[in-house]
Symmetry: C2
């Protein structure tokens, strides 16, 4: 039995942070019901790239919605609101990522939700959270990468600040929302108590800044981007080789000495500029020049072999394409086909419960409204007539 | 009651990924007991920066270990192993981030742990996971940022690849390990079943690549760094102003038109090169040049005011220092003092259960071995004599 089997999640989220959260819950066994706007659905159904350009099947949507159910409900209609009320009464978790205030305006305040189901876990993922002066501002991943400080420490040593190449603020927010929901479910299992969970993209991204906050306070210096270099361990970065780059992670004196030997520069080991990690970090650029001079003589594969032989942690910089040829990724089922789209692969579930279940394929991404009858009949026990009436009034539709 | 109150976690982790996981569990109410090597303890106790240079109090350690307990045990000693066996029998979760094989060599195979406590949740965080050909390789955050593909999409348009400025591979691994543990605890609450959880840095980082994997498969083009630019939405990036930068996130035609009006270039709205998002993304550089020309005339604060007035999502790029002046961060308790070090602030807990508990301060980071007597007496019921003997034999120490 997957750990969340028997847990029903009503998922009112769209695009990335929220759907990423419910993907995690789905992967762990929950029954996730996406409640979508009739006719259009989750915005990301219309985002490129498309797996099949003719049919406009969004690869973006597919990457994070596999195996969920889709129910279309017009929440601006009273009968649609009634469906959501019924869903809340029959489920364990409700998740939304509306801008704070919007869900309440639709008639679903925290109090109302709690009244409908005192044991419910009601989670929100939003840009700035449900409190504070900026609560109702619009947020996108790029905005939060900038406001959180993350962008100010990511980029080149020359000072070009860049975004993290994936929408990391959205993603860590989805992860923290899942963490809040899971913790609340643990407690509910013991006490029957429901919970309100409020996770913000800004808060989540600040919490992954790591030691930049500590460095600023202890030194008074504002942390800046350092290219591929680590702020306090040296050499711990990517160096240019004859044909590409090699990452060397020599975190202590012994590994530094081994590195010097491999690159044919043993004289650096006892050079007073480089003899401790502190010295090396202080003289990082001079040291990089020495190492780069040596590494440029040979291609990356040569250095990977020699460094590995010597026991120095090292790696190449894989492209997305390289991942498809990477044995360890295959062995761990981390790029797996989608049911019904066997030539298209998405990231697998990184939370492994070894031997417990097959994780070599992801379930089918739902068509818009695909599970209307299933959910209305089997979860809510609506009659055929009632369902026909909802369709006739465009409360639900396909 | 915090959601994980009553849950005891035996924490054998060091440095970042593992301690980040147990910080999350601690923040949600678990009783986290760090089992550390006598005399030296968690390596990160010795990492700079230091809050107090004379006393060598590591700010790094403090950032992720507040409120945990510390017990020193020599696990190479038979009596030390016995202590860990007793701990496993009395706890709910055991987490380690040894290189795969090491914990087993110490006498703690998955089978042995399960035998000691069939209901235990045993979680491992490692570089490559506990299966696959690379399982036993050493990994560091920098190595995994390179191998996972994340570095290949982060950097400048000119092709300089950079690391994410924080150790994001370690951090998402800690988060996924917490997710696995919490899901297993939910199940155990229902069925009494224990679980084995195996989370890898490589897997975790691949799972946060977002749509790069989809883009590669649908287009055949290998995704590359794009500076601050979004791969498929334009304009959605940071632009230079007179004094710094401003992020503009104009995700649709309406927001693009508003942006053009604000910057005094309404002629761009109907320019055939820019009239749809697809056109704008195709001609992103030309468009950037136009926007940059306009923005360079005024400072960031001017543009933030005008864009906000017009309803265009925008932001400045905050430094770590700016966060300390940011009202929303204060309102959400996201930079909070540490007990006993009131002038030093660390990131707060981003998982909010509003109104349930005070999250305005973090607990004290433990001294090495600070809770030896507490744990040995209160959790394990060892006698005073037994404890004295353990000290005398250097099995535990301070």
């Amino acid at each position: 039995m997957k750990p969340l089997q028997g847990i029903t999640v009503i998922d009112l989220t769209r695009v990335l942070a929220g759907p990423y959260c419910t993907m995690i819950l789905k992967d762990l066994g929950a029954n996730v019901i996406k409640v979508e706007t009739p006719l259009t659905g989750d915005d990301s159904r219309h985002f490129g790239p498309f797996v099949d350009d003719a049919q406009k099947k969004s690869a973006y949507f597919m990457s994070i919605n596999c195996g969920k159910k889709s129910l279309t409900v017009n929440l601006k209609n009273e009968k649609g609101k009634k469906i959501l009320e019924d869903l809340i009464q029959k489920s364990d978790v409700v998740v939304e990522n509306y801008r704070p205030g919007t869900f309440e305006k639709l008639g679903f305040s925290t109090e109302r939700i709690k009244q409908l189901n005192p044991e419910i876990i009601y989670a929100s993922a939003s840009g700035f959270g449900h409190s504070g002066p900026d609560s109702k501002k619009a947020a996108y991943d790029m905005i939060i990468q900038g406001l959180s400080g993350l962008m100010s420490i990511t980029g080149t040593e020359e000072g070009e600040q860049v975004r993290v190449g994936s929408s990391i603020s959205d993603i860590v927010t989805g992860m923290y929302t899942a963490i809040g929901i899971l913790a609340a479910l643990c407690r509910r299992g013991k006490t029957g108590e429901g919970a309100r969970v409020d996770v913000a993209m800004l808060d989540s991204t600040v919490s992954v800044l790591e030691n930049a906050i500590a460095r600023y306070q202890t030194s008074g210096n504002i942390p800046r981007p350092l290219g591929s270099r680590h702020p306090s361990i040296t050499p711990f970065e990517a160096f240019k080789t004859q044909d590409s780059e090699v990452i060397i992670a020599a975190g202590n004196d012994k590994l530094f000495a081994l590195t010097c030997n491999v690159i044919g520069k043993p004289e650096l080991i006892h050079d007073p500029r480089f003899c401790t990690n502190g010295n090396r970090t202080e003289n990082a650029h001079t040291l990089s020049d020495h190492i780069n001079d040596a590494l440029r003589e040979q291609p990356t594969c040569h250095w990977l072999e020699k460094l590995t032989e010597a026991g120095v942690p090292c790696a190449k910089v894989n492209t997305t394409a390289d991942l498809f040829e990477y044995e360890q990724i295959q062995a761990r089922h981390m790029l797996i086909p989608v049911e019904g789209e066997e030539n298209f692969r998405v990231a697998g579930n990184p939370v492994k419960f070894p031997g417990e279940w097959d994780d070599t394929q992801r379930g089918k991404p739902p068509e818009l409204g695909e599970h209307n009858e299933d959910v209305l009949t089997n979860l809510l026990n609506y009659s055929e007539e009632a369902i026909a009436e909802l369709y006739a009034n465009n409360v639900v539709s396909k």
